[in-house]
């Protein structure tokens, strides 16, 4: 696995590995209806007294108590729906009011220069929140050829994620159909805020 090699050559801080894992966690919950194995692992998280830990505790409890089919149909109501779901988790939609607009084109340009593309089986446009979370995780861990510097991560984040993701997660938190996904929205909203603040601390000049 080439990912492993990249990690071994370049020491990545523990905090950054946690960031990448949290991005991957959000991506896993948001990309498709969550499958049983994901829900089982979510049900085993304990959480703690921090705001993000409390939301995680709630999520874990819901993963245990709710019927998996109910959670999956909640996902459909939120993101797929009949015609459309309650929310449209795309950068382009949040920034312009339309899908497939200029923000998607800008993202595709940046993806091309990083050397990445959407996997063949994925039909969603690349500016879906789950894809963007996957991209951040990949940039941090060095899955795309090399680990990207904090500065490069910050540039990508500020261009494609910061302008809308906090708003999207807040919408998810408050969505009519959201029960299981409400704490996912909380975790995402807090995490986006932490990321913005941390990037500002990390910028050297």
């Amino acid at each position: 696995m080439s990912n492993m090699n990249a990690n071994a050559e370049h020491k990545i801080d523990d905090e950054d590995i946690l960031r990448a894992e949290l991005y991957s966690f959000l991506a896993a919950l948001l990309r498709v209806e969550p499958q049983d194995n994901l829900l089982v692992s979510v049900s085993q998280i304990s959480g703690d007294d921090t705001p993000i830990g409390k939301a995680t505790g709630t999520l874990s409890y819901l993963a245990k108590e709710m019927d998996a089919a109910t959670i999956r149909s909640e996902y459909v109501d939120l993101f797929i729906g009949v015609g459309r779901g309650e929310l449209l988790p795309y950068c382009s939609y949040y920034l312009t009011g339309f899908l497939n607009e200029k923000p998607l084109a800008n993202l595709r340009q940046d993806m091309a220069s990083i050397g990445i593309a959407r996997a063949e089986n994925v039909k969603d446009p690349e500016d879906h929140i789950a894809s963007l979370c996957d991209m951040m995780a990949g940039l941090i861990l060095g899955n795309f050829g090399r680990p990207y510097s904090l500065q490069e991560q910050a540039t990508f984040f500020k261009k494609h994620i910061a302008p809308w993701a906090g708003l999207f997660f807040a919408d998810l938190e408050a969505a009519k159909s959201a029960v299981f996904y409400a704490p996912v929205g909380t975790i995402g909203r807090i995490f986006m805020d932490i990321e913005s603040q941390a990037f500002d601390m990390g910028e050297s000049r």
Binding site: E15, L18, L38, T56, G115, M201
Partner: protein, 63 residues
């Protein structure tokens, strides 16, 4: 001096991330969720792949 200053800022960032307790979520689920397939793959040549989907997007978008 510049690097030293940068080092201090980096430490500040690390401490901030530690305090924000991402581990409450991430550490616990890490391996389980990361094992799921990412939606993103590297393009071997580094070139952008003009799939049919992308072509039809460009055709419809008319930038």
């Amino acid at each position: 001096m510049e690097t030293k200053k940068q080092g201090v800022k980096q430490d500040g960032r690390r401490d901030f991330l530690k305090l924000s307790a991402l581990g409450a979520v991430a550490g616990a689920v890490g391996t389980a969720s990361v094992a799921e397939a990412s939606e993103i793959k590297t393009v071997s040549s580094g070139d952008y792949q003009e799939t049919d989907h992308v072509k039809s997007f460009y055709a419809s978008a008319r930038f």
